[in-house]
Symmetry: C2
């Protein structure tokens, strides 16, 4: 069955690529009010495509912001599983235009890559799904499983309305599992399953000393320096071995199993010195840089300031010092609880002579992880390997994807992150592109995957 479908994709490649070109030519920049109609046009493109290939109940849902496209095909019967496929049709702005080698909204192939804004993030990957659904419908007259499609238009501006919709329309969107193709492989041609994301929490705090900046000669020796007090508080948070010193910080952390350490070991490592310009990596005592970035919690100071920042010297004791902190969390860590521990630690470590004022970061996210040995994951990995001819690696990521946390929180269903992008796609930057090899092999991966799930 899969052969016929793949043959269809090969034979209709030019025709489908032309449709993808049309999709990519629409400047659906969600952040720019001037592109509002273009965003709508891109939504219509998706709706029409789904209509044409035989999806049902296809509709453009208004959200309060840019619309969301919903469609479903539930003809596989109640024995077959139902997938919720999420993607987004909006894109980042193309500026600065002068840095593009071809026009961002005139797709062009060069050196085996398709250049256009959205080629990788996320129109290209959304289109692969549409093309594969088409191939199944045209050759078999049906899909191997039931499918619900949710393609939003506000991902690049924070998915402002999505959480409410997912919550309000729980019955409509509910499924057995979700598939998202809005991420990437760890290296070119390296099939990659992303099976975990970190959560996060944060806060900002200010240490207040004297009511105004003071003359350091007159008051040095009588007044606690808020900048030095800040240094003491921040230094107390994490030791030089990168181990967080907050009481209870690691208490609920799910330990890293030998199985997972082996999975992480298999992931091709990033050459951090080359990509970041650092001389040496620094990771938590007992963990490799890969283990720490993927699977261990982190605490970072994102910004701090105190006193005089201009040229030369100003001999003052600053009136205050401020720092912004965020933690990336792993499964087991509750964001609100970790935030409370942080606050308690800071309050307890604030030295006499300064007072502390803490502002909680209102946004937070729980970490997400799916069991890498789950059959849904295993079958995705096998499909990747079959299409790319290479063992699939399993990675976790230090970042957060809000929609993943929301689907997890609201629907509590497994989420399979099937990313086909590569580290060289220049997402959000000039000359965004997507390798045509990944376009073809990615579609084959999807064909194998849907087929493998039909008997589930």
């Amino acid at each position: 069955m899969t052969e016929k479908v793949i043959t269809y994709l090969e034979e209709h490649n030019e025709q489908q690529l032309r449709a993808l070109y049309d999709f990519l030519s629409i400047p659906s920049v969600s952040t720019n009010p001037a592109n509002k109609e273009d965003v709508k046009k891109a939504a219509n493109f998706v709706k029409k495509y789904l209509d044409n290939i035989g999806f049902e109940h296809v509709e453009i849902q208004s959200t309060g912001g840019h619309p969301l496209v919903y469609g479903e095909w539930l003809g596989a019967g109640s024995d077959a599983p139902t997938v919720l496929f999420y993607g987004h049709y909006d894109v980042q702005p193309a500026d600065p235009l002068e840095l593009w080698d071809s026009e961002p909204f005139k797709p062009e192939q060069r050196n085996g890559r398709l250049y256009a804004r959205g080629a990788s993030d996320d129109k290209g990957q959304v289109f692969m799904h549409l093309a594969v659904f088409e191939a199944f419908m045209q050759t078999e007259g049906k899909l191997p499983i039931n499918v619900k499609v949710c393609i939003e238009g506000e991902e690049e501006i924070g998915s402002e309305h999505l959480y409410k919709i997912l919550k309000d329309k729980k019955e409509q969107f509910n499924a057995d599992f979700a598939v998202i193709s809005d991420s990437g492989m760890v290296a070119e041609e390296q099939p990659t399953i992303l099976y975990g994301l970190k959560g996060f929490t944060g806060l900002e705090f200010t240490l207040h000393g004297p009511s105004i900046d003071l003359h350091s000669g007159m008051y040095g020796g009588a007044v606690r320096n808020p900048a030095i007090a800040m240094a003491h508080v921040l230094a107390s948070l994490k030791d030089q071995d990168e181990v967080v010193q907050i009481n209870g910080f690691y208490d609920q952390v799910e330990p890293l199993s030998q199985t997972e350490r082996n999975l992480i070991k298999n992931v091709p490592g990033e050459d951090y010195k080359a990509t970041t310009g650092i001389k040496e990596t620094a990771s938590e005592n007992g963990y490799t840089a890969k283990e720490h970035t993927m699977a261990r919690p982190t605490l970072e100071v994102n910004g701090m300031y105190s006193g005089y920042q201009g040229e030369g010297t100003k001999t003052i004791i600053p009136s205050s010092a401020t720092a912004k902190l965020t933690c990336r969390l792993v499964p087991g860590q509750e964001p609100a609880h970790i935030q409370d521990l942080l606050i308690k630690h800071i309050e307890e470590h604030t030295p006499k002579g300064v007072t502390v004022d803490i502002k909680k970061e209102p946004l937070s996210a729980k970490a997400y992880k799916v069991d890498p040995t789950h059959p849904l994951i295993k079958k995705a990995a096998d499909s990747y390997t079959k299409a790319f001819g290479k063992e699939t690696v399993y990675v976790r990521m230090g970042g957060s994807i809000p929609v993943v946390e929301w689907i997890d929180a609201i629907y509590n269903m497994p989420i399979v992150l099937l990313g086909f992008g590569t580290p060289n796609d220049r997402l959000h930057s000039p000359n965004e592109s997507f390798p045509l090899e990944n376009y073809q092999k990615g579609m084959q991966t999807l064909v194998y995957y849907w087929d493998a799930l039909k008997n589930n």
Copy 2:
């Protein structure tokens, strides 16, 4: 002899005050090019006054900037000591004018104070000396000691040309000791001898991490955070008991004798909580706030910054972190040596994964101290007490006065800091004023002092 002189001052008070008003009416703002001619006018006022009262070799010396007035009276003979009296006739700008209750360059008496820019800093205090010299000359036909007068016009802009002049004209300016009246008493009506000033040194350093700000989710766990590294370095410089932890920092510090601790104990203390708004003072373990501010070295962070400082959260690992440090030094501490120790400490405490870049502060000053039991000081204290009817206190100050260091370095002569200002004079601020009580009693102090030195 002093009675006649003091009687002269009383009888000629109105006439002398009119001259002081004239002096204060000249807007000799050295920093404002538009006031260049006014500055010259103020220099001429001083020259003319010295000429009129019988000084010799009175001259306006060009400096490359604003002129300096020199004059001498050496008629006391070679057995009598020679004093170099230093002051300045330039003033700070008067802005913001709308905050003055009377015009800054139209002197006015209110509530026992004389209001005008320069009333305290330093025209008023310079004029007291001129008036006293006049009184001696008019009543006795001579001064009790030999006097050289050096009144500059660039103090408020950093005395740019003074060091070179003091060095180049060493023979002309040389004396047995120096007197400077450009400081204040610790409290109203509290005769105060300032017998020590702190030196200083400083530097700025940056810890460099990744070449650009990094995504904290992607790189947290692999890359050392420069802001946290900075916190560790700064926290290592001074402990929470305000003891500097730099190896060798205190090695050359002259210990604080019980005599000096007693002197400091007698000084009326500043209510730091009231004046600075802090809840609690913080001073070096084993020393009071007064002892630490006056007589123990300090280390302060004057400014620091790293990463994101805007509203809200930006989840980055900053590319770098910068801090500005200065130390206030006490006798025994060599600024260049302390700067080297600081550099060595910072280099040794910079953690792996970041590199350090240190910029030395080019300006520095050695601490100055005169033996508080030196007869020149003792006689000054006695003169104060006689005029003000109150025990004189002995203080050291955390600040630096460049001219003191230069006279010390070039001439190696004792310097007597006879200040008559008060903490309420609002130097450099709107509504600068000087208590008329201090004007009268200050002149009496000078009469007693010069007289007491005549038999030295």
